[in-house]
């Protein structure tokens, strides 16, 4: 499926390495319970994901376009620097170290992560016919990241972990966007994903300003969990 290449460090190889790192960071984040390490993983993932478009075969014209480079740089700064720093500040502020009692345990989460890779491979395989380029690894890792992010969002109680899940999902969407983007005008559509980062920033600010610890059904903090249908 992956195109063989003659040169040892061809452009495809670098992108494959980046994508593997992305999937690795997804699995790491599913298994990790310390919030600080989660933030670090997300910073790493943000950098890797925003670098990926540079090394894709079907984006080769990218480097000649100053606008695209500029947008890429903005993505890198936001995903790799601004958001992680905000999250770091939030974790410091709310003084919680680890996620206690996730709704779905860490081993089960890891297993789910592996399952998402399978699903991603299945979907990428099915869509094979109508895709513009051959890089299926990109689509697989994109779907894995998206699904794992959604999973993290739903299976954790702490507000900050939910935001991290959302961020991961958003990275997945960005990857899918780059996987599908071929024409230049599509690239600009993908870049609007940066507005989702704005939402993330606002959510983190909400956490910092209002000391939101966890969302529903948490007995310990009982801050969020009052609204129910009964």
């Amino acid at each position: 499926m992956i195109q063989p290449s003659n040169a040892l460090f061809s452009i495809n190889h670098i992108s494959d390495v980046l994508l593997s790192l992305t999937v690795l960071s997804v699995l790491l984040s599913l298994g990790s319970n310390r919030l600080m390490s989660l933030v670090k993983i997300m910073a790493f993932q943000g950098i890797v994901v925003s670098l990926t478009p540079l090394f894709l075969e079907h984006h080769e014209g990218l480097l000649e376009n100053t606008n695209s480079i500029f947008l890429l740089l903005i993505m890198l700064i936001i995903k790799g620097l601004v958001i992680p720093i905000l999250m770091y500040a939030a974790v410091k502020k709310i003084k919680i170290q680890r996620e206690v009692e996730p709704i779905i345990g860490y081993h089960a989460s890891l297993f789910a992560g592996l399952f998402f890779i399978l699903i991603g491979a299945f979907i990428a395989d099915r869509l094979h016919i109508s895709l513009p380029m051959q890089n299926e690894l990109l689509l697989i890792s994109a779907i894995t990241t998206l699904a794992a992010g959604l999973f993290l969002l739903m299976s954790r109680r702490k507000a900050i972990t939910q935001v991290i899940g959302y961020l991961m999902m958003e990275n997945g969407i960005y990857l899918i966007g780059t996987a599908l983007a071929k024409e230049t005008h599509t690239m600009y559509v993908v870049e609007f994903g940066v507005l989702l980062d704005l939402l993330v920033g606002i959510m983190i600010m909400g956490i910092v300003l209002h000391n939101i610890n966890s969302s529903y059904n948490d007995v310990d903090t009982a801050l969020l969990g009052q609204l129910k249908d009964n």
């Binding site: 507000a159 959302y166 599908l180 507005l195 939402l199 969302s215 969020l224 609204l227």
Partner: protein, 476 residues
Amino acid sequence: MLEFTMLIPFLTGITAIFLPVRLGRGILVLTALLHLLLTVLGWLGKISPALPQYFTVSNEGMLILLVTSFIFLFISIYAVSYMSETEISSEPIYTACTLFFLSTMTMVTLADHLIVLWIAIEATTLMSAPLIFLHRSKTALEATWKYVMICSVGIALALLGCFFVVMSMNLGGIHVPITFSSLGAVADKLDPVWLKAGFIFLVIGYGTKMGLAPMHTWLPDAHSEAPSPASALLSGALLNCAFFGVYRSHQLLYRAGLGDFSGNILIGFGLLSMLIAAIFIFYQTGYKRMLAYSSIENMGIIAFGVGIGGLATYGAMLHLIHHSLIKSSLFLSAGNVLLGYGSKLVDKTGNMAKLFPKTFTAFFAGFAGISGFPPFGIFISELLIIIGAIQQGRGISVSIFILALILIFAGASRLVTKMCFAPCDNPEILVKENWARTLPSFALLAASITLCIWLPDSIYQTILAAIATIGGGVNG
């Protein structure tokens, strides 16, 4: 320069932050009047968008814009009196955010570009979140968090949907601006598989905002925690705007010859929303939550009607108008009840007929209207949807539809009769009702009755033109 309808609320919103409270309230009403004036001018075709590559005057958009502008005027009049009775730490924030909210909703209704529509809907989330959090209580915080979180996930999925639509464009080898109008013109050349995938994600994304089940979970919390004028806006205006996104997507699919596919998805979501609302409305203890579930039901009805096509589409558009009028009136009355009894629980209220005769009249009439009794418009719209569905031979769907309507009426009437007629344990009235806070409710209800008896020809023609794009019409 139809864009002024967006710019003016935005600018007055910024000024309202710095103005004293009383002046801010005046600005709110003044802006509402100005907005309605500009909207009417837009209706008459006197002004048109200055940036045609991003904004356009679509029939359905203008319809939703008119409804939004109309109810906003009455809600802002109500808000002036409501805000002086409640203790809110930062009223300028309320005024400013309401105006920003109006501005972003206007942007939704005028948007033609896929991404502009997406940005506008995201902006409505951001601008309305502070409104829900206005009371700064723990429950308000939870409701706001849920609202922002769930709607953000929805909006992210909608972006994915936009990618897929663009993808279908690439595969079809088309180079046109990514606007609904230019895509609609070349819809048959778009790649159908990716277009379908795009539609699914767009419906899930915008449907989250619209309150379609099973993505509705934020809606009861947000509507019950927001101050009543904001709830009325959320229910009467915001849900329509989200529906606009769904409607435009459905339109695109219909043009591409995939109308059956998208219609069936809408019918499925619509019926599911109605059933979920019917089940949950039975167990409600709060009257604002009850109204919120009723909104879910009504959005389900609209999605169902649009999905069915034909005559039902006309019914769905009428339903949209009347639901906005009646539901916002109900939320305004609920605000009076909340002020009067100081509780959102049905158990803490009672004997409204004696204690609050004006509010009682508005609330009970509104309840009759929302349940589909004549002379209110929902009677006609639901009847048309049922007839339309039967015409199309959708026997099973229409029986589920009617069953859900009956269940919801039963569930809601239990609570409403309790509120209105049951003896009240604690007949202590915190804030007396007054005309300033009941007249807007009456005016909205009267508008519904008027439109039921006499529908102006321009509105009738606009509805017909809007539904013609998805194969609807009054002749079945």
